[in-house]
């Protein structure tokens, strides 16, 4: 095992999978010589050459569209979109083409493209370097959506995504690229896509979260225990589609209370899906209304980012709120 940051773990997964399978190719803006603006692709061109790790012209449609063609032809492309906010110019290729290839060809063709992209707030990126677009993609049949929150998961989930036969939107919480460190198994290693991770067990309330929200949830839960004696269970969803329904339902059946935390705008955010799932399948276990804490229904701000992104204080107040319901 080695200590790695989330970013190093992603780099390690790319290297390991490229060594294992010569069909894996990595490309995107500045990923070659510059090794990625976040350095996620460090050393790839050096080790695998320009044919397998290269910089592209500035066209996201081009990047995703070309990846689709390569995948249809038998490669395993892992394109990078420099910031998730820039996936929108390629949105049509992602939702109309990438997601539908298998279905529309009656299974004759598949498109195993893994789109990696840093997402989310917390780095003073303002409107266009901070968005959390996961809900658009979970709303698109044909795509898998994966969000790691630990270095170990980042490596293992990315490896699974690359080995799989389906397109995956792999969203990397850039706020914790370097701040989160952890043990990561060396060499080939996978974490299955699907199962959620229990961050901590608890009996009073279930908190569902993912990505950079896991850490403030942990902090808030710690305070809730210390100040109010509330024992929170925290579930890191890891995969938003297909989501681990059983883990969510089992937790709610145990605690009877649910809080969902995400940083995208609250309305029609991914939390609504979790809330609906619980309402459909476990309502009889609920002892309080389900609560969602999200970003506000505004574009992502620059100066006021610290107020926009849910923090431990807001989460703590949310925990108290759910617990207060008799």
């Amino acid at each position: 095992m080695a200590q790695m940051t989330l970013l190093q773990a992603i780099n390690d997964a790319l290297k390991t999978e490229m060594r294992r399978d010569n069909r894996v190719v990595v490309f995107g803006e500045d990923v070659g010589v510059n090794e990625g603006v976040f350095r996620a692709t460090e050393g790839l061109t050096k080790e695998f050459g320009e044919e397998r790790a290269f910089s592209t012209p500035l066209t996201e449609t081009g990047i995703v569209g070309a990846a689709i063609g390569m995948a249809v032809y038998g490669l395993k492309p892992v394109p990078e979109i420099q910031f998730a906010d820039y996936i929108y110019p390629a949105f049509d290729q992602v939702v109309s083409e990438l997601a539908k290839f298998r279905y529309r060809s009656g299974g004759e063709y598949s498109c195993p493209v893994v789109i990696r992209t840093p997402y989310g707030g917390g780095i003073r990126g303002g409107l266009y370097h901070s968005q959390s677009p996961e809900a658009y993609f979970t709303h698109t049949p044909g795509l898998k959506v994966v969000i790691p929150s630990t270095p170990e998961d980042a490596k293992g989930l990315l490896a699974s995504a690359i080995r799989g036969e389906d397109p995956v939107i792999f969203l990397e919480p850039k706020k914790i690229y370097r701040s989160v460190k952890g043990e990561v198994p060396e060499g080939e290693f996978t974490v299955p896509i699907g199962p959620a991770r229990v961050v901590q067990e608890g009996s009073d309330l279930s908190i569902f979260c993912y990505g950079a929200m896991v850490e403030p949830c942990r902090l808030a839960a710690e305070k809730a225990l210390e100040k109010e004696g509330i024992r929170c269970e925290i579930i890191d969803l890891r995969t938003l589609y297909p989501v681990d329904e059983e883990a969510i339902l089992a937790s709610v059946r145990k605690t009877g209370r649910a809080l969902i935390v995400y940083e995208a705008p609250k309305t029609s955010g991914y939390g609504a899906e979790i809330a609906a799932l619980i309402a459909e399948r476990a309502v009889e276990y609920l002892e309080a209304p389900i609560k969602r804490i999200g970003g506000f229904d505004t574009p992502f701000p620059y100066t006021l980012e610290k107020i926009y992104v849910p923090d431990a204080i807001r989460i703590f107040l949310g925990i108290k709120d759910v617990m207060a319901f008799e």
Binding site: S55, T56, L127, H129, T267, F296, F316
Partner: protein
């Protein structure tokens, strides 16, 4: 400059004015000594502003900055040709045009600090300026999206018979983006009063232009769309002015759009987050030499006309630096926008769900004011 310049072959020469030896020692057509000095001072002010931005960023007082060192002539040459009713749809590197059009430093600096007086209300990252008074339109960070807006605005100006020219800007990298092609398509079909500038500073972050586009020059991208195009030395302020003046006159006469490739060089990093030595070593040093740096070239030209001496040089730099220091220090002291402003301008009227979110936040904030960032106040 040839108006049939879309026919210029691949090896198209750069249109130049100042380096043309016949011009040394004589005033260029249509420009007075006063014009030339104004342009020179405009470039000095942009550079002084950039130096200040870099210092503010390095000392952690602003989070991020973008400079345009080496590209001053592109902004001033165009700025000098613009009229008040004309519009600018730029990206993050054209703020020098705002300065040249007379925006006080404080207006730009308020944006750098994202403070209470920032026109964008502290919502955008630094370098996403907006200024309605100067027809300088707010830009996205998403590369290229504004180009087709400019084409639409130009169609509107034509429809309203406003005699306005719409200018729009894109980097060499940005010419690969989807909307560049949509813009060129509309420009070619509807022939609106639009001038599209490709600021070819030879790199899109780390990607050199040769790996961005398979054609030898970028101005060729006009040909396929039926938009006349020229290729100009972007470090020659007079050539930039001349090409712009001609394109604007054509646009105002109802003769449609022009594409202008400005061949220049980005001397600094892409932004304060970039380390250009990773992909181009120390190559940029030579671009601040006397024969390339647009400011040095203009200085030499002024000298040849007897319009320059050391005292003048010292004075204009001092003036520029004072202006920049005063303007930025004022902005630094202003408070950040009221957090309530987060909910403004999303819609013309606040929808109920958003009003509820705001009210909840007000309640929470009064219960647990965020005095110290990062600290759990409970």
């Amino acid at each position: 400059m040839s108006s049939k310049s879309a026919d210029i072959p691949n090896s198209a020469p750069l249109l130049r004015a100042m380096t043309d030896s016949t011009k040394a020692g004589q005033l260029p057509d249509g420009l007075t000594a006063q014009d030339l000095k104004q342009m020179y001072e405009g470039m000095v002010l942009i550079r002084a502003y950039d130096e200040r931005q870099k210092k503010l960023q390095r000392s952690g007082r602003i989070g991020f900055c973008v400079t345009s060192t080496g590209e001053e002539a592109t902004q001033v040459g165009i700025g000098h040709a613009l009229q008040d009713q004309d519009w600018i749809f730029g990206y993050y590197r054209q703020y020098g045009m705002m300065l040249y059009k007379g925006a006080p430093i404080t207006e730009l600096a308020d944006h750098l600090f994202g403070n209470r007086d920032d026109y964008a209300k502290g919502r955008q990252m630094p370098a996403h300026y907006t200024n309605r008074r100067l027809n300088f339109v707010s830009s996205s960070s998403v590369i290229g999206t504004h180009l087709i807006h400019a084409a639409g605005a130009a169609m509107a100006a034509k429809y309203k018979k406003d005699n306005a020219v719409i200018t729009t800007f894109i980097g060499d990298g940005g010419t690969s983006a989807n909307d560049f092609h949509s813009c060129m398509t509309f420009a070619g079909v509807y022939k609106p009063p639009l001038v599209i500038y490709i600021v070819n500073n030879q790199y899109a972050i780390s990607q050199p232009v040769s790996k961005q586009c398979g054609a030898e020059t970028l101005h060729l991208k006009g040909v396929g769309y039926g938009v006349p195009a020229v290729r100009v030395d972007g470090n020659d302020v007079i050539a930039v002015y001349n090409a712009s003046r001609e394109a604007f006159a054509k646009a105002r006469a109802g003769e449609g759009p022009t594409l202008i490739e400005l061949f220049t060089y980005r001397v600094g990093p892409h932004s304060s987050s970039d380390d250009p030595t990773r992909y181009r070593g120390n190559e940029s040093d030579q671009w601040l030499s006397e024969d390339k740096d647009p400011i040095a070239r203009t200085r030499n030209y002024l000298k040849s006309l007897g319009l320059w001496d050391e005292a003048y040089e010292a004075k204009i730099w001092k003036d520029a630096q004072n202006q920049v220091n005063e303007g930025t220090s004022g902005s630094e002291k202003k408070p950040e926008p009221d957090w309530n402003s987060l909910f403004e301008d999303v819609y013309a009227e606040l929808p109920p769900a958003l009003a509820r979110q705001r009210d909840e936040l007000i309640e929470q904030e009064s219960e647990f004011p965020r005095q110290q960032e990062g600290e759990f106040p409970l």
